[in-house]
């Protein structure tokens, strides 16, 4: 079973596949296909990756909220031209009894339902694809793969990794700054930029220090004379995965209409 994990796929190919799928999906309005993509992505993550279900659920919450918001918006505002404005009493004074029906029900009866569902499910499909990539890919693997498959210069690749690995330190620093400010009787709200500014001033100095530490350990950013412990490569199953994903979506677009 371990041979069939999403983690084993080449990250660059996986990223390209997800992007292709997103572009393909943007050319169609099929609710069923959107939902199929969303569910397929979830199933793949649940049974063919090491992603924790709890994390998946936590990340799905904002996506679902967003989709619901988009659904409501689509329902109320995205009408096709020529539609009767369902809730506008001023325009249709003679139909006063209709207002006894809840607004949502009237809206749902209109043609907007389809448009709203199209929007909402498309967002879900995008979210599913995004999670499919991000939950099954380690940042480090992705950056290394970009360096080998997409010619990202080592200077940027390792710079990104160093910054990425500094994040826990920055979070801790920000907490310390907040505590220091509180004790000095300076009120900084959650969205106040003051503590962040102090932290950023410090982190500019950090980045210099890290760059010097890397250089003193022989890193010169050029890539010349550099060896690599592992070189991520593209194998047949990467290509097969990419073709299968794109192919299935194209089939869906052709046959689900």
């Amino acid at each position: 079973m371990s041979g069939l994990k999403l983690e084993r796929l080449n990250p660059s190919v996986k990223a390209a596949t997800v992007l292709t799928c997103v572009v393909l999906l943007s050319f169609q309005y099929l609710i069923t296909l959107n939902l199929a993509v969303f569910i397929a992505a979830l199933l793949l993550l649940m049974f063919f990756s090491e992603a924790r279900w709890g994390r998946l659920a936590a990340l799905l919450v904002p996506a679902l909220i967003g989709a619901f918001g988009l659904f409501l918006m689509g329902l109320y505002y995205a009408r096709a031209p020529g539609d009767l404005p369902a809730g506008n009493d001023a325009v249709l004074p003679g139909l006063a009894h209709v207002t006894l029906m809840p607004y949502a029900v009237r809206a749902a009866l209109s043609r907007n339902l389809t448009a709203a569902l199209q929007l909402a499910t498309r967002l879900l499909a995008y979210a599913g694809l995004g999670l499919l990539f991000s939950l099954s890919t380690r940042g480090e693997d992705f950056v290394l793969s970009l360096m080998h498959q997409c010619r990202l210069p080592p200077k940027f690749a390792y710079g990104i990794l160093a910054a990425f690995n500094l994040m826990p330190n920055m979070a801790r620093e920000l907490r310390n700054v907040r505590t220091a400010f509180a004790v000095r009787n300076i009120h900084a709200g959650i969205f106040s930029l003051k503590p962040a500014f102090t932290m950023l001033v410090n982190s500019v100095r950090w980045s210099e220090a890290i760059a010097m530490a890397m250089e003193s350990r022989g890193f010169d950013g050029s890539g010349a004379g550099r060896t690599y412990y592992t070189v991520p490569s593209v194998r047949w199953y990467d290509v097969a995965f990419a073709l299968a994903c794109a192919g299935l979506i194209l089939c869906g677009m052709a046959f689900l209409t």
């Binding site: 907490r175 530490a213 350990r217 890193f219």
Partner: protein
Amino acid sequence: MGPILSMSDVVFRFFEQGKRNVLDHVSLEIEGGGRITLLMGGSGCGKSTLAAVAAGLYPENGGFLEGGTIKLGGIPVAELAPSRRAAFLTEMFQNPDLQFCMDTLRGEMRFCMENIGVPPSEMDGRIRRAAEEMGVAPLLDRPLYTLSGGEKQRSTLACLFVMESRCLLLDEPFANIDRAAAARIVRLLHRVRDGGRSIIVVDHQLDLWLDAADEIIILGEGARVLQRGITRENIGQYVRLFDEQGLFFPEAEEAKTASTRRFSHHRGEDGKPAVQFEGLSVPQGTPGRRGFLGGHTPSGEWLLRDADASFPAGRMTAVLGPSGSGKTTTFLAALSQHPYEGTIRVLGTDIRRMRRRELYRRVGIVFQNPANQFITQNVAEEVRESLRVWEKGLMAAECEARAEEQLEAFGLRPYRRFSPYMLSQGQQRRLAVLSVLAGGQRVLFLDEPTYGQDRRSTDSIMEALRRKVSEEGLTVIFITHDRRLVRAWADKAYLLEDKKLMEAAP
């Protein structure tokens, strides 16, 4: 064997148009092959810059090299690409948090070897040997940010070891870690030396190195060599030189103790407790972070269990203990910034009954990294702003005058137009003390007030505090792992170890 490092007549400064040379005609040669050389010098004498210039990191990363030659193993450093330079010399820095590019030690060691072109097939074997030799095998796959300071510095050492360069350069490697962890690293360095590699250390904690160092070199102003060839045997004849340069000398402390004790005379209110702990228990947890609904979710681990303590007013009390024993967290609890059980009283009142603002009017804290506390971009403004925070209606002229007066008293007036970030560490701490006490606080906590400071800077911080204590009756409670500091300055001491807080002899 020829010299591994040779510098002749090196002149270096940070700004090309600047007047002050950080390195002023420095000439220095260090022999290769199995020796430990200790470079000592007062804070700000340019010794860290010297290290970075020797490693070729400056002027590449900033600064201006006016003249002189620097050679590693006989080759001019400018002609060596970083990857080739690493075969001669690698450097370990002061801050353990800022030395890693990857997320685990294993990844970092691979990164180091990739840089210098080690064939991938050899890497696993070299990692295994280095991990065994440096005792870091259990750390290899743990996320680096979860390691303690001492573990991080040992990991850094293992990285330098795995690169097999001929010389290791250590720039104040122990500034952020406790003595036990430092002593362990010194023992590891013995083994590195016995393997035939040279070690150059920049530090001012002589007692850790006295047995290990083959030669001690004293640097003066502009990092110029004042004296070479000091060893354990002949160090007695250089007492005056150490004193002139403001450096710690192993035996100098005894005299110091006597002189400061006499200095501490007390005022009326002293003796009464300023801060009291009654049955205090402090759980582990992230300081300053509260649970989802405002409550705290203890992880089940305790840092401190059922402690009683009393910190007398108008005195200086020290809290000792190894790193990670929970000293800082305990004092965050006393500031209502960390959950606790039991009772904490400040000036007689239970802090649970005080509003935060009232509490912070009475108690202030200076953190280990004072750069975290600054709220403005200007030294004088920093003091004025904190005066205004506490006294809303303060007149501008009066505020100005008071700030000036306080800066003068703390020797910071010449720097009043500087950015706080441009000050030295010692000056930053003194500024932090001033701005924290701007609300007329009666109690001051200090977290490691003198770490990484030479004797002169340590004395100037502690003397400024001592003056506040004896003239204004301030209560000072400082956290440290430096026993010498406690002996010299504390009236009372507590030791926090194994979740217990015990009174100890100062």
